[in-house]
């Protein structure tokens, strides 16, 4: 219970610092900056605020790491050599496509 109260006070102070101190952003504002940060599209001022928040806030730092790892993993599971690739393309599909091609040419 004491721990919970301490953590609550800590969060309140942290929230106050982010909202009141000039040049700081809240965790919610940090969230809105993430994609532009990853795309290199933050302005100089935004980048400096983003970096300052990142240095101070452990939760956002860890969140960003997990978020970036998610992107890497999502990409990797579809680009790895083990991704299921159809090796059983039906000849009937190829025949249909070629027949449609021939019909279209005749109709030209």
């Amino acid at each position: 219970m004491k721990e919970h109260k301490k953590s609550r006070i800590g969060r309140r102070l942290k929230g106050l610092m982010f909202r009141r101190i000039h040049g700081m952003i809240t965790c919610r504002e940090f969230e809105e900056f993430i994609n532009n940060f990853l795309d290199g599209e933050l302005s100089k001022r935004e980048r400096s605020r983003f970096g300052r928040h990142l240095r101070i806030c452990r939760e956002c730092r860890q969140y960003l790491q997990a978020y970036q790892r998610t992107i890497e993993i999502g990409r990797a599971v579809f680009t790895s050599p083990d991704e299921p690739v159809p090796d059983d393309v039906p000849e009937s599909l190829i025949d249909t496509i070629l027949k449609l091609r021939a019909d279209n040419k005749t109709g030209d």
Binding site: R69, I94, R101
Partner: protein, 197 residues
């Protein structure tokens, strides 16, 4: 757009073969893969690829090597799959709010401490994990899943995705961020290494 080589067991067209047949045989395997990722269904993917080839044959005369053939076919395949998707409307109405990050009343992030984040290699080497990640992506509502696939997997730019989906660039960015955040939440037990092998 990212270029990717994918193996296929479809017999390649030989140099003496009809050029149309060569084009089909050399590309149909990866085109079905792309369409299947977007549509989540093999039969629909084959339909989309059939439509894509018809469009490709119509536009072949105007192609004139403006882009690489594969890049051009990739775009045509994506467009054909998106057309199919608009007709079937899978799960676009579902909300992903429940998978979004949480903040307390002080606007501080609520995030359990991360003692460890699994590496990409750890996850890739485990077939079950790879399947779970693909299933998590498939669980996203279509209007988010498609943006994530086109941007992060197929490698299109925000502007290209906006054009394909007839959305504004800022809308694409918002959807992409929400999709990535939701995916992070969905695969969190895998990322934390908490799932039994």
């Amino acid at each position: 757009m990212m270029e990717r080589q994918q193996p296929t067991n479809v017999p390649p067209g030989n140099p003496g073969a009809n050029p149309a047949e060569t084009l089909v045989r050399n590309n149909i395997g990866w085109m079905i893969s792309v369409a299947q990722r977007l549509l989540g269904d093999r039969a629909l993917a084959e339909d989309a690829v059939q439509d894509a080839f018809i469009s490709a044959f119509r536009g072949l005369d105007d192609f004139e090597n403006r882009a690489s053939l594969k890049t051009w076919l990739h775009r045509i395949t994506v467009n054909a799959a998106l057309m199919k998707l608009r007709k079937i409307k899978r799960r676009s109405e579902q909300s992903i709010d429940v998978y979004q990050p949480e903040f307390d009343e002080y606007e501080c992030r609520i995030e359990a401490p991360w003692k460890h984040i699994e590496s990409v290699e750890d996850i890739l080497e485990n077939e079950q994990r790879r399947t779970q990640v693909r299933a998590a992506i498939d669980q996203l509502p279509d209007n988010y899943r498609i943006v994530l696939l086109l941007r992060d997997i197929e490698g299109y730019s925000t502007n290209e995705v906006a054009q394909m989906l007839e959305l504004s660039g800022s809308n694409v960015k918002i959807r992409l961020h929400r999709a990535r955040a939701a995916l992070k939440k969905l695969i969190e037990p895998i990322l934390r290494g908490k799932l039994p092998s």
